[in-house]
């Protein structure tokens, strides 16, 4: 298929935006200004100001000297980027591949799209008139290459549509800056008297490269279609997508299930054929009222099993509101990973953490979307009890250091230590009794102290002296004193855990 590209140029993007927000600005000349080296410099001017000689790069004070009624508004460059992005997203109605072309343009890959608008002329008119109606001053061109479309949109005088093979003709009379060149190269060309692209298009390439560098040749070749140029789409199209239109609008859960199963079967067949499995999947349902509802699932391990993915979706089918009916189902798999076939054979023999049943169970539990969290803990190289464990990233992660049991550790650890009142001899003996939640425990046996220092590079505070104690009933606790005794300070004791 013949490649066709469109370039849209917003001639006064930031001033148009201000004028749309504040319609009273349409009637007056105004400029956007940014501070540069302590002076306010014009960064954009509207048409009225431009027609009276104000241009970007001019100092605001100079402009005000010959145009006293000039309005000056502070420019916020971040807005323009956001605006361009949202305009790009709006353009997705014309083609799925839209790229932002900073600072003030959009690039569209329209190959195979224009016939839906009955030809390129109507397509172009539709986009331009819609944007002009919204208040943007735009120019647009369609050409077989990105470079030519860009050049014609900005500098073209003959017509906005360049037919295939007409790139050379179209570029011939345009100035060198139409080739998206660096300013130094442009200045040098201007100095050498090369006022049009045609004046150097026929020169030997070696001579051009020696004088102007590789960039000029690359841009020239790209504009003439001798070298490929790629766009970075705003919304990447997921490569694993299945669509299922329905003749009659679907309104029932069994209907959705049938559609889902059909989509999954084609997608999973394709995935397993390529040795891949999906980690996330999205089911989008386009309703006949124009709205779209979607449900998504995630798996803890790449899978291409229809029944498993179906079961995960089945938990969420009730969340779909079909309203008047669903006319199109789209199943997307944005995250794809390779399935290791060797490992799959191992799973069948060894139950345990790598068992597929466990992975499927955990997917089911987390997939219900009720705030379920799954953790597995691994030892971490810290002595501080709260930091001695860390959550594992995946089910297959192995402990990096061995678990230790040389020190007593409680079965239940309180999330934050609770203060207790103690009677303890000083300086370094375990308490004789302590009071916790109104109950007095007299200590019969004790072990300790085990001093655990704070990690000063992570947080500040006192160290802890831990004691493993047992009271008169045989109940075992982990208590600690925060810091040293000293001077006239009394030290707080805390209860931090319960032993079995």
């Amino acid at each position: 298929m013949e490649r066709r590209f469109a370039s849209i140029w917003f001639r006064h993007l930031s001033t148009d935006r201000m004028a749309i927000r504040q319609p009273e600005l349409r009637e007056v000349p105004f400029v956007m200004a940014t501070p540069v080296h302590g002076r306010m410099v014009v960064s954009a001017a509207n048409i009225l100001a431009e027609s009276q000689g104000v241009s970007a790069g001019m100092v605001v004070a100079d402009a005000k000297a010959f145009l006293p009624g000039l309005e000056v508004i502070d420019d916020q460059p971040a807005w323009t980027g956001k605006l361009l992005r949202s305009l790009g997203l709006w353009c997705i109605r014309y083609t799925p591949v839209v790229a932002v072309d900073p600072p003030d343009g959009l690039l569209l890959d329209i190959s195979g799209c224009a016939h839906l608008w009955k030809g390129e002329r109507a397509y172009l008119t539709d986009i331009v008139s819609r944007l002009r109606n919204r208040g943007y001053d735009v120019r647009m061109a369609i050409a077989p290459t990105v470079g030519t479309a860009w050049a014609v949109a900005r500098f073209g005088k003959k017509g906005p549509i360049v037919e295939g093979g007409g790139e050379r003709e179209a570029l011939m009379h345009l100035p060198p800056s139409a080739l998206r060149l660096e300013s130094t190269v442009q200045e040098r060309m201007h100095k050498l008297g090369m006022r049009t692209v045609g004046s150097f298009m026929g020169m030997p390439r070696a001579a051009l490269r020696r004088r102007f560098g590789d960039q000029l040749l690359l841009r020239l070749r790209q504009a003439l279609g001798q070298e490929d140029e790629y766009l970075l789409p705003l919304k990447p199209v997921p490569p694993y997508t299945e669509r299922l239109p329905s003749l009659e609008p679907i309104r029932t859960a069994p209907g959705i299930e049938i559609a889902l199963r059909q989509l999954l079967e084609t997608l999973c067949e394709r995935l397993s054929g390529e040795g891949k499995g999906l980690r996330t999947a999205i089911l989008k349902c386009c309703r006949i009222d124009g709205r779209m509802v979607q449900i998504d699932i995630g798996t803890s391990r790449a899978t291409a099993s229809v029944s498993h993915i179906f079961n995960l979706f089945a938990l969420k089918i009730s969340q779909i509101e079909p309203a008047l009916g669903i006319e199109l189902f789209i199943l997307e798999a944005p995250r794809i990973e390779d399935i290791d076939p060797v490992q799959e054979a191992l799973w069948e023999t060894a139950p345990g953490l790598s068992s597929p049943e466990l992975a499927e169970l955990l997917d089911r539990l987390t997939g219900k979307g009720t705030g379920c969290t799954v953790h597995r803990y691994l030892p971490d190289a810290h002595h501080w009890p709260e930091r001695s464990i860390r959550p594992a990233v995946s089910l297959s992660e192995k402990p990096p250091i061995p678990w230790t049991d040389d020190r007593p550790r409680p079965t239940r650890l309180l999330a934050s230590p609770e203060p207790i009142d103690v009677t303890a001899p000083i300086p370094d003996y375990p308490p004789m009794l302590f009071r916790y939640r109104g109950e007095v425990h007299s200590i019969k046996k004790a072990e300790g102290p085990e001093r655990i220092e704070r990690e000063w590079w992570m947080d500040r505070g006192e160290h802890r002296d831990y004691y493993y104690v047992e009271d008169q009933k045989g109940q075992r606790y982990w208590i600690f004193r925060s810091g040293h005794y000293g001077d006239d300070r009394t030290r707080q004791w805390f209860l931090h855990g319960f032993f079995a």
Binding site: P351, L361, C372, V374, P379, E447, R476, F499, A500
Partner: protein, 246 residues
């Protein structure tokens, strides 16, 4: 003669029923032990029943910790050979490194935290249906007969052992669980004159056993496993009677 054959027949039928309920037949007695010694004699055929649901009652935080320790001891046997355990609750306050001292690799325990207790029950049931697990521990407060029956039906198919810890239950009604336990901490075992705290000791009480008998025992823990005290302090009926509970 006729009486003898009738008794044999009844015994055989009883064994069949027990097998259907998840209790192991007497032949597997040597293989299926869990190291609890005299405590296991309270169960039918003298074997700790795997593939059933056990209920643990705890009425204080200290008892809760003791119950967790005892369960970790059980898990060390249940998870032999690389099994995985799921620990389901509304909050995680179990401190994994302690499991190591009870012979369980803490990274083989997968913790699942749910927001509400009803979801914990749902997750427990789903987990008990999964054949790839060695055991499922869930921490709850309330569980009625119908809910326990659902769990029991799930394990009868998958043969996973379910351990339900009930903290401070408001109402202890009858449940379909194979046994109801209560674990209380006892002063630790320490040789006379040695300083420090010794290895943990518990008073293990079986409040209810389906088709078995109740009782109370003193059990300790050493590095090799459970150390049942020689002198059992039996509370329940000594002779083997078939009591219908639950």
């Amino acid at each position: 003669m006729a009486v003898d054959s009738k008794r044999e027949l009844i015994d055989k039928l009883r064994q069949d029923i027990l097998r259907m309920q998840g209790f192991a037949p007497p032949e597997s007695r040597a293989a299926g032990g869990i190291g609890l010694g005299p405590v296991e004699n309270a169960f039918p055929n003298g074997i700790f029943p795997r593939g059933t649901v056990h209920e643990f009652i705890s009425t204080s935080r200290e008892q809760g910790a003791a119950t967790c320790g005892f369960i970790e001891g059980l898990l060390s046997r249940l998870m032999d050979g690389g099994g995985v355990c799921l620990w389901i609750g509304t909050s995680t306050i179990l401190f994994p490194p302690a499991a190591k001292s009870f012979g369980v690799e803490p990274d083989r325990i997968v913790f699942v935290t749910m927001r509400r207790e009803r979801e914990v029950l749902w997750a427990t049931e789903e987990a008990l249906k999964c054949r790839g697990l060695a055991a499922v521990v869930s921490e709850l407060q309330e569980m009625d007969f119908a809910q326990s029956r659902r769990l029991q039906l799930a394990v009868e198919k998958s043969k996973v052992t379910g351990l339900v810890i009930r903290h401070n239950p408001r109402r202890i009604g009858s449940t379909a669980c194979a046994a109801r336990w209560q674990i209380r901490p006892l002063p630790s075992a320490l040789e006379e004159g040695l300083p420090g705290v010794g290895s943990p000791q518990w008073e293990v009480e079986l409040l209810k056993v389906r088709n078995g008998h109740t009782g109370s025992w003193q059990v300790g823990w050493s590095e090799d496993g459970f150390v049942p005290m020689a002198k059992p302090t039996l509370v329940g009926t000594q002779d083997k009677k078939w009591i219908k509970t639950g």
